[in-house]
Symmetry: C3
């Protein structure tokens, strides 16, 4: 379904510069766009692509309207307006497909009539699935789970017993939620399992990327706040709390009982050790290791720069000599001071 | 089923201080406990929670009995005693659910009558599953596998052909065991696959966390020893050997043909390069990279500290100048020595 | 089926030293081989194993023929010749198993009659699967997918809508291809999903390891070139391009829109940040973080050495003082220069 530029601008609170009646049917990138499509432009890195675009219109900020060779929608945040317009133009067709005949549902499960469940899913005893939710093929939901309204589980998701998922969740394939935490007591060298008796509570508007794992709590629960966005292959250990609207990129690991604040961003490959408290609005750059609690908002980092191998190896070796170097430097300073005071 | 404090103390070889007849039905954390529940206390970090607990009893060490506001079981290792009591009070109901009608089992598979297999599982030719084992929905076991007694495979586990799993295994959802190792020969730039002809041998009492992957050996086997505990999202490459009772935390990668000793602990996010030998009782701290063999027991680390971004960036840049700094320091020392010797 | 040494040598363009009629039925490692088996030898590390082998023959380079206690095939690249001979001797029996009765296939899917599809798979609308391809149990393929000839999907693979896979693909269990990229726009702190409208295009002769995830493009596509080899638990973000014949080891993460060249190797645990360009023939060592584009072929590294914990901790602390040390060193040099100039 197409919309006019005027309709789209009104939808995102923007202003049209150009032909208000121009019909837009879909979104595209500046480079691949054709007539009838809209793009967005946010930075000088894409200046060349903007100049050459075959799109019918571009979403830009006021500062960039001059640059656009085509009609514009002017907004404060072009990326955000683009997200909204793309969602409008590419709304998934939410047909109720019903429950496939191969699905195994326990008699005590409570499934809203508007729920779609695809082939070979398994739904456990007492599990409740709310209106408008779609569950793709091969998902396994344990007993006593709750899945909120308008959620979407992609194929081959596994939800253990008693896990709760809020409204508007998007859970990608291969996600495991509610697996046992890594809790063990040591008995003269060998390990004795500590039963993991809590569960996982996932808030509203959460997206969880492919193959991400979220362990159930040991005694109390693991908690994922409202609006949290988790990328692929993230590991969330038992009893972790993730604050509302925090976004975590791929390959991150959060160890047990750590609490992450609200509005944080954690970049790819970060590891956060256990039992820590990270306050709100903390931003951790890629592949950092967080070894202690963070009480002050801001950006934090660890790690060393990438270098050509031979040059790197020299720094790598010197790293092991750093304490010695520091002591020798102090000694040199002392010798110089002694000389001066003579 | 509830037990008296006296029964529980006897079960873990501890001593009751207080009302031996006190009835306990479950475990909880100090903070969330109610009457009828038992907790454990191990450290001053939780002093406040202990003081305020509504639990009926607490498991403590002798040194901490004074602190407890409620009845106690006194033991040497409260965490271990708690693990045992929690397992006793929260024993999963092991009802034989039989084999679901949607399961596809090859005629030549040998399944003990006490085995439960849930919906949509697939069991290959010649695969043997021993008494008391439970296989949750959606698991796929290849041909020629062996699964020992009293093991538990959670939903959507994949076991390739010929993989052997010992007794009392707990294998969480999304685990893949027996996939091909990353073996390739280079032919003028392009890669030729080396067939992966070994398998995976997993000992007794092993737990494997969600989405962990264990590759089959190239020629000989990949071996996971008895009592090994693997957390989530670990990657074990072909021909790795993990010694008995070693515990590995989440997001660790072990490259091909490396041998890890017994009683080791490897913290989260560690990478161990290939072809190495790590002796027994080695402990690697989080996110370290192990680049050479370790012949001596002890704790090992690599990595740099987390800092506020601006301060970190200065150290980050200086890291690249380290070799230059070291040479200049030496030069300065030489100049001073020359002066002194004049 | 066994072959004579002469036949095997001809197959790999090598030369027999010894009994050309010697019958070989399988491959093995030097240590575990028995009579009738062939091994390969590449380096002095395995000298002892070579001396003691019970194999009937060994594949060696010309320089090592003297060392071999048994018959040899002499070639330039023993590992490559071994890969070829192992593939010949251990060819998987490619019986057409047909389509299992529990498979759910949309009427509009186009499946070549020679395709095997195992139990509980689901194949979406319009999806095309070419001749000779095998799909193991529990795989879910969305709508509009294309899978090329002679490909192999192991159990429990998930392919989202519209993903294209070339010929001779090997895709291991737990792989997810086509999941949404991590695209979000920020709206006063909370995150608004950007629809992910591209797909994933995978070339010919690609192998993808267990539990690896490849996100679909945001607007344009994520592209995996011909002959690319991906190990287990790799995360490929949206709009990444991987050049032909590049090999990537386990636990690597590649962030959004990064382009990796051809003939690169990326070792285990590396993270490559987003929006970067890595040229051809670049080799990144294990656990490096790539933070900027690389225009020159060669080997690159980051990271610090593993040390005993106590010694490491001293360097770790000094790292935070590096900038201060550098300034003090400069000051010392200045003082010395001043003295000299007096």
């Amino acid at each position: 379904m197409s919309h006019t530029l005027e309709e789209l601008a009104a939808y995102v609170g923007g202003e049209v510069i150009g032909d208000k009646a121009c019909e837009i049917d879909s979104v595209a990138s500046l480079i691949s766009a054709r007539s009838g499509q809209i793009c967005f432009y946010t930075g000088s890195k894409h200046k060349q692509s903007l100049r050459q675009t075959s799109a019918s219109a571009v979403i830009v900020s006021a500062a960039d309207t001059e640059r656009s060779p085509v009609d514009c929608i002017v907004v404060d945040n072009p990326h955000l307006a683009f997200a909204r317009i793309a969602s409008l133009l590419h709304k998934p067709s939410n047909v109720n497909q019903g429950i496939h005949k191969t699905v195994c549902i326990d008699d005590s499960a409570v499934i809203d009539p508007s729920v779609s469940i695809a082939a070979h899913c398994v739904i456990g005893a007492g599990t409740k699935i709310a209106a408008g939710t779609t569950i793709a093929a091969g998902c396994v939901l344990g007993d006593g789970c709750v899945i909120g309204e308008n959620s979407c589980l992609y194929a081959n998701v596994t939800i253990y017993n008693d896990v709760q998922v809020g409204r508007n969740a998007i859970i990608h394939s291969g996600v495991v939620a509610g697996s046992d935490g890594f809790g063990m007591a040591n008995d003269s060298g060998s390990w004795v399992k500590v039963p993991q008796l809590g569960t996982v509570i996932i808030g509203d508007d959460v997206e969880i990327g492919a193959n991400t794992t979220i362990d159930r709590g040991a005694l109390d629960d693991t908690v994922i706040g409202n609006g949290v966005k988790l990328d692929n292959q993230i590991q969330i250990a038992h009893n972790v709390h993730i604050g509302d609207h925090t976004a975590i990129a791929g390959c991150v690991g959060i160890a047990g009982s750590t609490r992450i604040g609200r509005y944080c961003t954690i970049a790819g490959g970060v590891v956060v050790l256990g039992q820590l408290e990270i306050t709100d609005n903390v931003h951790i750059t890629a592949t950092s290791t967080v070894t202690s609690s963070i009480q002050r908002s801001g950006a934090y980092s660890s790690g060393t720069p990438l270098m050509e191998n031979a040059r790197w190896h020299r720094s790598y070796v010197r790293f092991g000599q750093l304490d010695d170097m520091a002591k020798r430097l102090k000694q040199v300073e002392k010798q110089l001071a002694d000389k001066d005071s003579k």
